[in-house]
Every structure is written in C-alpha cells, then in structure tokens.
Amino acid sequence: MAGAVLAGALREALAAAVVAAGLALPLLGFRLVDSSQGLSLGTRLDWVAWAALAVGLGRFLLTLSRRLRPASPRHRPSAGAVPAQADRLRPWAGWALAGLAVTLPFLPFADRNLVDKATLVLIYVMLGWGLNIVVGLAGLLDLGFVAFYAVGAYSYALLSTGLGWSFWICLPLAGLFAAGFGVALGFPVLRLRGDYLAIVTLGFGEIVRVVLQNWQDLTGGPNGISAIPRPTLFGLRFAANAPEGHRTFADFFGLPFSGEHRVIFLYFVILGLALLTNLFTLRIRRLPVGRAWEALREDEIACRSLGLNPTNIKLSAFALGAMFAGFAGSFFATRQGFISPESFTFIESAVILAIVVLGGMGSQIGVVLAALLLVGLPEWFRDLQQYRMLAFGGAMVLIMLWKPSGLLSDRSPTIRLGDRR
C-alpha cells in the first residue's frame, strides 16, 4: 500500500520534473555572454537541472501529502457546515483591519514610504471592491475594468487643469462619467456571457486606452497630462507656501511644514473612499439590487422567470462598479500629479481581476488580503530585485494549490430567518 503510494508519487514527480526541465531549458538554459568578440550564446544547464529538481521534489511532497490525507476536503465547504465559525470571525476581522488602517500613519514604525505604499494598496483595494460588484456579485467577467479607472483619472485631470475645478467637485463628476461609460459598455454586451463578454470588455479597455493615446488635442496623447492640482483640505494646501489668498495646512495649524502631511492626507482620502465603497457594497448586497446581482450570477433564466429584468440588473452592476473605479481614478490622478495612457494598460485590469479572484469572488475582506498580497508584497520585496516576480509567481502557485477557490470563498447569507445577523 505505502509502496504503491510512494511509487505513484515518484512517477508523478518524475513527470513534473521532465516538464519543468523542458520549460526551463529555453528560459533558463541559455544566456547571452558579452565578451570582447561581441555577443555569444552561453549555456547554464546546471540551472535547468536545479529547476527540474526543485519542481520534482515539490511535486513529490505534494502528491505524498495528498495521498496520505485523502479525506482533506479541497472543495468549498457547503453551507451549514463551516460558515458559523467564519461568520463569527468575519465582522471582527473587518473591524480589526479597519482599525489598523485608520491608525497606521501614527504607528511608530510607519514612515513616509510605508504610508505611500499603503496608499497604493488601498487604491487597488478600492478598485478590487469596485470590480467585485461586477465580477464577484453579478458574475459578469470584465477584463477591461481599467478603462473606467482611466476615465475617472482623465476626467479629474482635464476638469481640474482645464477649468480649475477643485478635487472635491470633480470627484463625484469623475464617478458619474465613469458610470456613464459603464452603461455605455453595458448596452452592447447585454446578451453576452462568459468568454464572449470577457473578450468584448477586453477590447473596450484597449479602445479607451488607444483613444487616450491618440487624441492629442484633448488628452495630450502619450505625453499625458501633468501638473494636475493636488487636493486641499477645505481649501488648505499641502505645500511649503501658498499663493496669494490661500493658506497652507501647516500654516493654519501652526505646524512646521513637512512633506509627510500630504502623504498622510492622501492616505486618509483614499482610506475614506475605500471604506465608503465597502460600506456601500455591504449595504447594497442586502438590498434587492444586490440580491438580484447574485441571483443573476447564479442563473439568468431563473431570474427572468421571476420577473427580474436582466438588462437593468447588468447595467446597474456595470455602472456602480465603474463609478468606484472612477473615484479611484481621480484619486490616482491627484496623487500622481501626472497621468498618461501607460498607467492604464491591460495588465492593470488583469491585476485587479486577479485580486478579486484570489480574494474569493464576492468576499470583501478577501479583496483586501489579495490586494496586500498582489500589490503590497511585490512593493515591499523590491529588495529581491529580479527574483521578485519569481517569488510572486511561486506564491501564486502555492495559493492556488492551497485555496483553489480564493482566499475567502464562503459567503454568508444577506438575510436570515433566525435573527442572528
């Protein structure tokens, strides 16, 4: 029995090692040697061997652990079984995370760098929460979400540089524009599902980027828009000295000027926006619209048979998801002070989608964890330099093995008969 298991595991390990060797040969096996005679091709077959060995060993251990513990439930726990425990943990974890987020800038170890990176993570948390409405709740696979982020960013950039409107006026407008684009995308794709929807949304994302890139007169083309005004706190500026008729934040509160003020202020702005997104989503999940989104994800035909109009449901999901991306976009523009089409490539859409999927499709806290993992970790591990992406890829593989349906994939009902919300 044990012998058979061992032999089986060895066989699988061998197969995996062969595949790994085949893949590693072109990727790792050769390198360019820069010698006095010019470039030549060198080999490093030892690397290939190491890679194959590592993969083979990993596969061996994995197979062994699985075979010896065949009862371990690898699928989603069905309702009734586990959620009770998760339910109790969930609100607690949410409040703990929120508390940590609010106090973060004042913690002893928080320096400017950390707060700045936390701001970046929060942008992605917010984008993830926005996309969660579309993908996680309504089940509409959207690969062009970055388009709405771009619309929000350019709306703010153009309105503020062109008309001189303040961030706080432009923010809702940017959200509205993005929502408008969400509806504009929603109409043509109403009949599409799954793969087809993904392809069209992907195309939509690219169209928006290409338009931004080529509409020189309006968007500045590849040069983008620079000198985007920073947000103010009720008219107080975060700068060393204010122009005539304005005051600075440091001056008003009698503090010595410090660049950190602005970083912390921006952090709180995005934290506020993100929490607003979260509250909104948590709330709307319990409303008819939110339940209709989830019902649509589960079965569109059943929805129709119950008198739910799929058009309205899909459009509202696209519009609201896009609105939050628009908010995040205008925040991004004001934080960077400069935007160009390069910030809105497909890879951004992919990262946001990865955050939602990794988080466990529909789970709000899952999105936070996934954003920390996907955006935060690579930032913190910049020291690893070229191995950063390798570590990142390895982490992804491990997570997919350990949690194939996302970090937090169980959902708790939005309403209960036994009044224990």
Binding site: G80, P288, V289, A295, I415
Partner: protein
C-alpha cells in the same frame, strides 16, 4: 370546469427550423383548477411552457391570460414581463435554483419587484428607511409562509444547492409562488421524487389550488400524480393535441393508449 377560463391557448405553433415542436395547439386552463399536460418524450410539453412563459415566441397563435382587470396577451410580452405583468410563474424540468444563495434568499429574490419599489430603487434601502424595512419584513413573512407550506422552514438559512433533490423541487415551487402568480406552470415537479415525497407534493399542489385559488398547469410523467390530482388532462403527441378531458376520460381514450404504447405498424419506425 369553472365558467371563464384563466388561460386560453389558441392555435399556437412553434417550429425549430423544420421541426414542428408544437403544432396548432389550442386548449384552456381554468382558474382554481389543475390542468395536466401529458405526452411521450419529445411531445413538445416543455416547448409549450417556454411559449407560455415567453422564453420562446411562437410563430403562430395567441395566448391570453384573463386577469380580473382584463386579458393579457402573453405572446406580446418578454419573458421577464410575463412573470411581472402577466403573473405567470414557472418551475423548470431541470431545477434552476440560485444554488449558492440561501433558501430564504431564493424566496426573497422572487419578491424582487415589490421590494425594489419599496426600496425606492435602492435609495430608501441604502438609507435604511423604515418604509423599506417594513417591506422587507413583509417579504420575509411571505417567505416564511411558503417555507412552512413546503416543510423547508428548518433549512431557511442553508445554501439552496445543499438541499436534497426533493426539497429543491419544493423550494422551486415555493419560489415561484412568492411571485404571487395567477397561473403556476410546473414542469415535471414529481420527477426524481420517492413515493412519500410524491404524495407530499400532491398535497402541496392541491393546497395551492384550494387556498390560493389560482390555476396550475402541470407537466407530468408520473401517472399517479396526474390521475390523482388533476382536474383536466391535455394529451400531446408530436406537438399536437390528441385528447383532452377529465383524467378518467383520457385514461380510456384509444388515441392516448396508442400514443403511449405505440401503434403496432409504427413500432419499428419510432422506438421509444
């Protein structure tokens, strides 16, 4: 049958390319009664339901549902409007629940339109206004009523997909009833049920007929259900009506017996 019919189907024909799935079919279904639609596999029963509930649009024919306020022509409405405006609800041959939502949520989603209006298209709901909370409480009450009726109250907070098969069938009926229909169309509700569950189902359907006083249209292969509870039976074969009457009349009808047992000269041509 009682005086004015609830549903009038007149000359409905549904073709898929060359195949005529429903062929010039006319019949009536009464208010406060159970009309069974039976027929061999592929006779066009589900297709007929899909026409009545708007999932297919028949090429020919008229389908009128007589509301107290006047007739509603079903063939002119989109599928989701039929449930809303026409007040026709249905279940599916292969159960279609919102499997990852809870049992209660399934019943609340069915009341979407009422709740949506009460939530002021989400505004009142977002603000948590009492108008909406009262409407939600009423929706839960209605859900609880149907949970009790279908014996699912104990599982209200469980995932719908985790229920046993028979319970899922009953939940689908409860969900359809939560839309307040005038006509309930059931596509093989007894399929896959054991005899005890099947008897329970009979009682549930009779209850619905007698207490809600609505019309039921029932596709069924299980003859104990059909003969036990239906007031009228319509028999289809190859898309056409071959018999209609009370269960007893239909049972004795030679055309029906032929359709089910096969005509001797037809046997090689059409193996069942």
């Amino acid at each position: 049958m009682t005086a004015a019919p609830l549903l009038e189907v007149e000359h409905v024909t549904m073709r898929f390319g060359g195949l005529i799935a429903v062929n010039d079919l006319s019949f009536q279904a009464g208010r406060n009664s159970i009309t069974a639609v039976i027929g061999p596999n592929g006779a066009g029963k589900t297709t007929l339901f899909n026409c009545i509930t708007g999932f297919y649009r028949p090429q020919v024919g008229r389908m009128a549902l007589h509301h107290p306020s006047g007739p509603v022509l079903l063939e002119r409405l989109d599928d989701h409007r039929i449930a809303a405006r026409g007040r026709v609800a249905r279940t599916f041959q292969n159960i279609r629940l919102f499997t990852r939502m809870s049992v209660l949520e399934n019943l609340i989603v069915a009341q979407h339109r009422t709740l949506m209006a009460a939530s002021g298209f989400s505004l009142a709901g977002l603000l948590g206004l009492p108008v909406y909370r009262r409407a939600e409480a009423r929706a839960v009450d209605k859900a609880r009523f149907w949970l009790d009726k279908t014996g699912l109250a104990a599982f209200a907070d469980d995932e719908a997909g985790s229920l046993p098969y028979g319970s899922q069938r009953r939940l689908e009926i409860a969900r359809a009833m939560c839309t307040d229909p005038l006509l309930l169309c059931l596509d093989e509700p007894a399929a896959g049920l054991n005899p005890r569950e099947s008897a329970e189902l009979n009682r549930l359907l009779l209850d619905i007929r007698d207490e809600q006083r609505i019309g039921l249209l029932l596709i069924e292969h299980d003859m104990s259900v059909v003969m036990g509870i239906s007031d009228r039976v319509v028999v289809l074969d190859h898309g056409a009506k071959i018999a209609e009457g009370t269960p007893d009349e239909v049972r004795r009808d030679p055309a029906v017996i032929r359709a089910y047992l096969g005509e001797p000269e037809d046997e090689e041509a059409r193996p069942c």
